[in-house]
Symmetry: D2
Subunit: 394 residues, 4 copies
């Protein structure tokens, strides 16, 4: 009996489009998922550009109208890699057409949108997943496994940071990611969202937060040329940055743990420096994405004179996901966080199981993001609403 095939339509073809395409291309070659993805259609507004991308990434067809594509009978899964402000609309359309949906993070523009999407997805009876891909780092999945094995015990501390430095140059231009209308927020929604998801997954629900944000460079050169549709003249001018460059926050978890969060694009030398440390009663774990194949672990129950933080090189067949890859010690790269996520999703569809993180998980991240934004604006602690799936009436 052969592996079933599932046809994919991918909307969007930039950085995330490249990463998701790679995952679809690789997953069946490496992971033996229960269903094989067929890279059917790549969708983008610019016909020429999307055709070039499809040729580059290996898609069979292209289209410029996502509305038509998501309704096509041949499509089984719609994967959304567009700007955040289009996630809800595309998702709802795909759900109406009965498609399984994968959506890039952050799931929506805010909690309200996210809950609407999650409810619609449940009601549609399809599989839905938000691409919080970092859950699928083998070392992070190992952290989850170790917590479930009881190796940390009661958790006291979460310390999460996401440090980048790509806009530190004051001459870096005013790209859309620095425009509130286009991007919603800056470092907050883009990268804080990642560590919030990991915190919720590993430590649990957050009760309340207290945050503050800052924009260090308040004006930047306007983009000239075709990007902004402005003349060369305008390119000489400057415009206001309307999103945060950095956000820091305190948090209290429901289980009593204290947490700190920091996300910034102004940490010189930290390129994609996201990581965390968790301290529990029985042990501690720490992770740094720039060494994504490694997990630090301190076992308080080792003999006293032999205790120490150990570097687990999570590349052994005994580690999550790694049986699919190479012999131990042969590290894997960033892109396979997506490969693993797509593999999980294909398995969920094929086995009619529930994938994770689903849209409710995506909504929970928004609950925290929104509370932090509100806290930063109001300069006070803000409670995080509990996000509970609504029962679907059949």
């Amino acid at each position: 009996m052969s592996t079933p095939q599932l046809n994919i339509a991918l909307i969007g073809y930039k950085f995330m489009g490249k990463a998701h395409s790679n995952a679809f291309r690789q997953v069946a070659r490496m992971m033996n998922p229960a269903a094989e993805p067929v890279m059917k259609t790549l969708v983008g507004r610019n016909a020429e550009a999307v055709q070039a991308a499809a040729a580059q990434f290996g898609w069979q067809k292209t289209d410029t109208d996502w509305r038509k594509v998501v309704r096509r009978k041949e499509i089984d899964i719609v994967d959304i890699c567009t700007a955040n402000d289009t996630h809800m609309e595309i998702t709802l359309a795909a759900l109406r057409a009965g498609k399984h949906v994968i959506c890039e993070k952050p799931l929506a523009m805010n909690l309200k949108q996210a809950v609407k999407m999650a409810q619609a997805a449940d009601a549609a009876g399809v599989k839905h997943m938000v691409m919080h891909n970092y859950r699928a780092c083998p070392a992070v999945a190992l952290a989850k496994q170790m917590i479930e094995e009881g190796r940390l015990g009661r958790i006291y501390h979460w310390r999460g940071t996401y440090l980048q430095d790509w806009i530190m140059d004051p001459d870096f231009p005013l790209v859309w990611r620095l425009d509130k209308h286009a991007a919603g927020s800056g470092a907050h929604g883009d990268i804080n969202a990642h560590i919030i998801d990991i915190a919720l997954w590993l430590v649990g629900a957050i009760d309340e937060v207290c945050a503050t944000m800052e924009t260090f460079i308040k004006e930047r050169p306007l983009l000239g040329g075709t990007d902004a549709g402005l003349g060369a003249q305008a390119a000489a001018g400057k415009g206001a940055v309307t999103v945060d460059d950095a956000v820091i926050s305190l948090a209290r978890f429901r289980n009593g743990a204290l947490g700190t969060f920091e996300a910034t694009r102004f940490a010189g030398g930290r390129k994609n420096g996201w990581g965390f440390e968790i301290n529990g009663e029985k042990g501690s774990i720490a992770f740094n994405f720039e060494r994504m194949n490694e997990l630090q672990y301190f076992n308080r129950e080792d003999p006293a004179h032999l205790q120490g933080f150990r570097t687990i090189l999570a590349t052994d067949a005994s580690h999550p996901y790694m049986a699919s890859w190479w012999p131990a010690g042969h590290i894997i790269g960033y892109e396979h966080t997506f490969t693993h996520m797509v593999g999980n999703f294909l398995n969920a569809v094929a086995h009619d199981e529930h994938p994770h993180p689903d849209f409710w998980d995506g909504a929970r991240v928004h609950a925290v993001l929104d509370a932090m934004s509100k806290s930063a604006a109001a300069r006070r602690w803000v409670g995080v609403p509990e996000v509970v799936p609504q029962p679907v009436l059949v």
Copy 2:
């Protein structure tokens, strides 16, 4: 011409008494300070214990009455290593007797006391220093030097943590440090004070803070026997922990930088894990005390393909304090942070210069400590009052 001698009286002989004694014993052997300390009198309440300590550490005399000792003509410098709630009283008495004063950190019980001590010290016209010894780690002093050399430029971020784990066992008893009346606070005054001092020194004044605190283990076994003066019966009982186990805080610096602080005794595997990272427009530096001879430095002005965090092993004669020690690569230990501080103080006295950090610096730490405590209690942002020395009327 021979080096002048200065007679020391040290009040207190436990952990800090041992560390300060060692510094006085070593400083003239290694650093050639402009004045040589004479270890004249060690003071403690228990005659037998203080005699044993004096024999162990190398003091000429002992006494049980600090009031008498600080007034003795032969004493030039009074060094205070007692519990925090006695710092002010002893300091003021020593100042009245015209002695130079060194005081352990935190300087006092609160900002008000600290300012009173600083004003009195200025009025007395003597030299005064608070023992924020970590400024005298060579690698930390190198960080200061690099900032003054302009190698970081405008500073965007401070990320400071002080992580310990010595009271994680729920059976660890209710020692005086866990009693608010005796200790004032828990991790906050004990270890957060250290990283606050370093932040103020390296980054500058803090405008406002928002903190929260937690006591994870709320009851602990009472100390039995001689310590608590209770019978074996009582030892079976438990008492309430009345100080914080951990504190986390946000901060905004006057220069626009964002800061985070965390101090905890519940970070398993972190023994004396205090450290920081500072991100500036031109570079970043990072420090971890458990590798106290090293400073991490990222230079954003290196050629692009050669940029990276470098580990400066601050043991070279070109590094602060290190010309006094061994050839490069031969690391020094914790205790010499005190040796360097004492050396600095002796030089200040001999040359009639102003030592640092002085009592005003100690008061500035209290201004932040108090603001964080208030913030944690009130659950809101709290401004940090500016601490400005009052002119002394001559």
Copy 3:
């Protein structure tokens, strides 16, 4: 104008077959090579197994007879991933058919075979490359670039190790890699070959070597069942290990540098721990494959108080190969060393340029391997013959 296509035949489908297949599948998707590979035919002796592998890896056709395949007109490039003792025969057949040839390392069974292959390849006028894939780690290629930029100056030391631990269990069975007839040697040809190639590339020619080898576990359980064609009875028995478990060697380079080499399968905890340190008059570099995206660099010309080993995270667009991948800080994995090598080869074919490392480079590795083997047997220093390409008479 479209990119030309080149049809590939791959002989072999185990570990290396999987890695090479992945490279052919990915290279045009990521690197924009000047020619696009077409995964035409996968070849193996077992029809069923090779068909399964072809389906898994994405090959169009399969065959069980490499002799026929290498002669097929449609094939442009033959890639050889079979056992070492077949490399020469297959290569010579492919060359006779005028095909470009890629061959796994070590190139041959010994220097004599290797030279014969190199001469034949030159005479055939085709492109030839030996798959010393580790040259294509971006961080290793950066090391090469830095040496060429003169950043190390005169080189004094090479310190190379290749540490693994996968056969430390005495119950690990007597696989073919532990049989001299099948494998030629143990750790020596398998992994010492890698660091020898890197040494030759980065430091230059080796004049003489002095080596010794050891087999720590001299008998191992025989493999039962289909692998060895023996009955279950035999499986209970043991057989002699006839290859080295470990080899260590001294070396003198032509430029006056001293070198050490160590390759072992008995270094517990080192999974694929190959690395090197090079000390030059102006600086030092160090590399550890288990952190393959990083290169350590010490610049002796930095200001004295700022010197230190820096960790270059070689993931920036300014680093070799990395413009093809992800933004800085998003690391890549082991498999892309092959992707880069295949990309280089395709470019060489398309542009009619000379690829590296070619078969002569492969022969140079054999010259060192053979000298070390001879040295270990004779217990003395052995000179390494110079390998110079013979002029091809046209």
Copy 4:
């Protein structure tokens, strides 16, 4: 009952004199040895210089004639920190006077001298110790303890390096350490001796070695002025370097382990970078002196998914020597390797026990040093003679 006192005479007052003085001054203050050292007499040829050093380091008296001093009744222990070529003469004189003797490493000029010294010391019935101080790094002593606890099992590999860079500048002058007559050898006797001692202690006896040496900078500026007694004219000239800049060696241990040794003064960026890795059947350990408070440990018997090299911060009271110092996480420095050694020796004298490493251990290091030198000269493997104490006829 009070602690007995032992009067010390120290011959030599430069780098090692400073380090030993510090140890005598500190040991009773920190370690509670069973006997207290009295810093009686510091001896040196230059009266003025030795008086200055005695004042600096805290000695009661000085002398310029070691022959007289070692015979003085008041002296209990003679400690020898002079140039290597005087070790034997001073030692034998001190032994004749019935003194306990501590001698800096390397013990002598060669194996023959060393054995003579050891035999004389045994015959004298006194305590004798060679100052291979690195055995007394707590992390190294922990390694020894772990090996004795059976945590490594059978040992397969030793990998030892001692890397420095202090003479890399070609303008660094021709100091006595670069003169064979004064120094005996270069990096070999100075620093290779250290790692040889550690290898013998941790792994066991070495059967045979094969070494090579190199002098990279063959001529250096002559020292002018007072140092060399030459005029300014001569200072402009150059002289030949007559010792090795670097030595590398293979070794075979009696227990079947393979070993490599490297000692060099031309490893840019490595200041006092000595370290080792040992791989055993049950685990591995690794050490790097520049992080001397840390020991790396890999336990092959941990659960598979939790294995990793752990960093033991050897500063806990459960670690060797550390109960004498500070709370866990407060690291100690280089100088206390001497403090611990002196403490061990005082205990040995007070308890009439045998100290280690004794002169026979020092002779065993010479057996290896001599064999490596012979091997380098003869370009072949050389056996290491077994050094067995001769019975003393009473």
